[in-house]
């Protein structure tokens, strides 16, 4: 099996030759290559080269055409502050609580902000890797983009004080996700992951997720499916036990779970959905490789009976992670292969 075939089998809960290794390696690929993160995040060619180098180094099963969760808000008009070795922050939000919503314009992925560079990265990755490895794109989910358009505190207060207006912003954010994600599919990604950390139950109550976010996620996944996405992949970090059962209804075929949710509980909640998770992100920075390897092996064993599992971290592996810790995680999948053969 090649990496893509392995992941496809895991999504279908079919047998695999080994558990796929899907570390959430984004900015770490720049660090590994000795490239400034600020350059990696603005140059699609560089991003693609670093992702391919990381793939060769670790031998995992996925590459990510992903910059950061500020790409969309920048494309809509927010001003970012870039730093050399950190992800950018929004210095000035495009929307104010009572600003004119009709002034928001849909970004053209071929021209707006860094979107064209990301599409370039997607195209290079797919051309270079073809159908051997999963090429994943990424979009900000509707709730996360809403918080990036307004600032998170302003967005949350607006959601409570003027729900009607907030829903309009969510609709706009969902439309941006569709436009940007379908452009990524056209550029070559097998699927765009929807990252929506602000939809986590740590931020909004489960009822808010069900009533306001689920319908919009459904809309975005349906559009991706129609545009030819291989599968729907929803990534929400944090404590998500209360909302995981709604993921299949949203259209997610792959559900990320963070370290807050135990693997057996995730399997109970989503018996027919491929899961990815859930090693603590910080352990890649401060734990010993043996500890990460042991955590990875426990996870592989926890899913041995059921399958439908992609070994991953619960959230992004920080750029400054120790390479030997990522290697230890991937090695747990190789150990799995040895056991199966």
């Amino acid at each position: 099996m090649n990496s893509l075939e392995r992941i496809k089998a895991a999504i279908a809960l079919d047998p695999v030759d080994r558990t796929p290794a899907v570390p959430q390696l984004f900015g770490h690929a720049a660090t590994l290559a000795g490239v400034a993160l600020g350059d990696y995040l603005r140059d699609g060619g560089l991003l693609a080269r670093c992702q391919i180098e990381a793939l060769k180094h670790y031998g995992h099963d996925v590459v990510f055409a992903f910059m950061d969760l500020s790409v969309e808000t920048e494309a809509v008009g927010s001003i970012l502050q870039y730093r050399e070795n950190q992800y950018p922050d929004v210095a000035s939000y495009v929307l104010t609580p009572d600003g004119d919503l009709s002034a928001l314009t849909m970004p053209d992925p071929a021209r707006a902000g860094r979107m064209p560079e990301l599409l370039r990265a997607a195209g290079i990755l797919r051309r270079e890797l073809g159908d051997t490895v999963l090429v994943a794109g990424c979009v900000a989910g509707p709730m996360t983009l809403a918080t990036q358009l307004l600032g998170i505190e302003t967005a949350l207060y607006l959601a409570a004080d003027d729900p009607e207006r907030f829903e309009k912003i969510l609709d706009f954010a969902a439309a941006v996700a569709i436009r940007y994600g379908t452009a990524q599919i056209a550029a070559g990604v097998h699927l765009p992951v929807i990252f929506d950390p602000a939809a986590s139950s740590a931020v909004v109550p489960p009822q808010f997720f069900r009533e306001l976010l689920l319908p919009r996620l459904k809309r975005v996944f349906a559009a991706f499916s129609q545009a030819g996405a291989l599968a729907g992949w929803l990534n929400i970090a944090g404590p998500t036990e209360a909302i995981l059962p709604y993921y299949p209804e949203a259209g997610a075929d792959i559900a990320n779970f963070d370290y807050y949710v135990a693997p057996d509980r995730a399997q109970q909640l989503l018996p027919h959905t491929c899961l990815d998770g859930n090693i603590k992100s910080l352990s890649f920075v401060d734990a010993a490789p043996e500890e990460v390897g042991a955590a990875a092996s426990r996870l592989v064993a926890a899913f041995a009976g059921r399958g439908g599992f992609l070994l991953s971290s619960g959230c992004e592996i920080p750029p400054e992670a120790k390479p030997e810790n990522i290697a230890a995680m991937v090695a747990a999948c190789r150990g799995d292969e040895a056991c199966r053969s």
Binding site: E153, S201, V204, P239, E320
Partner: protein, 214 residues
Amino acid sequence: MINSEMNKLVETLLQGDHAGALAEAKRLRAAGVAPERIVTEGMEAAMSRLDDKCTVESFNLLEIMLVGRAVSAVANELYPEGMPPEQGRATFVIATLEGDVHDLGKNITRMVLIGKGYRVVDLGKDCPVENLVNAAQREQADAVLVSGLISPVIAQVRKVRPALAERGLGGIKVVAGGAALKQSSAEALNVDYVAETAFDGARYLDELMRRRHE
């Protein structure tokens, strides 16, 4: 009569209705109720009930922010110049350290602590360790609180205790919290306590202050 008015304030606070809570607090003041009593029987009672409700499994920022906003509105009405040191049970200095500009967790912790009647000096985000230590000295802080969403800030967190000790402030407790920091341990971060949530941190500080007064 006053008790039922006070209950109304607690309920309004818990509903996150800041305008309603402000009106209730003004009514209580007009009826001659002392600000101290509104803090202890109104704000603290509301925070305590919210604390009971917010377990680690059901803790969401939106709900807490709404109650926090209502509590802050009442605190501002009672003490427009900020809570005086003699009124607050203790003083805490809080900051998001240099290299991290995500300050929502810090803001929520500040609101929770104000709601519990503490005096909180907020140094904002992207704050150098030196500024934190200066403020701790100037304000005679009982504890300093640092919040971090992203892992690169850990290096700054580890510097806080030695920097305090260098100024002879080694007795000041250091509490850390936030998405990145809570994945670590007190030992690894070189702090006294790592809070799982804002309420968890507040409970640690309550206990610390209780022991000091014994």
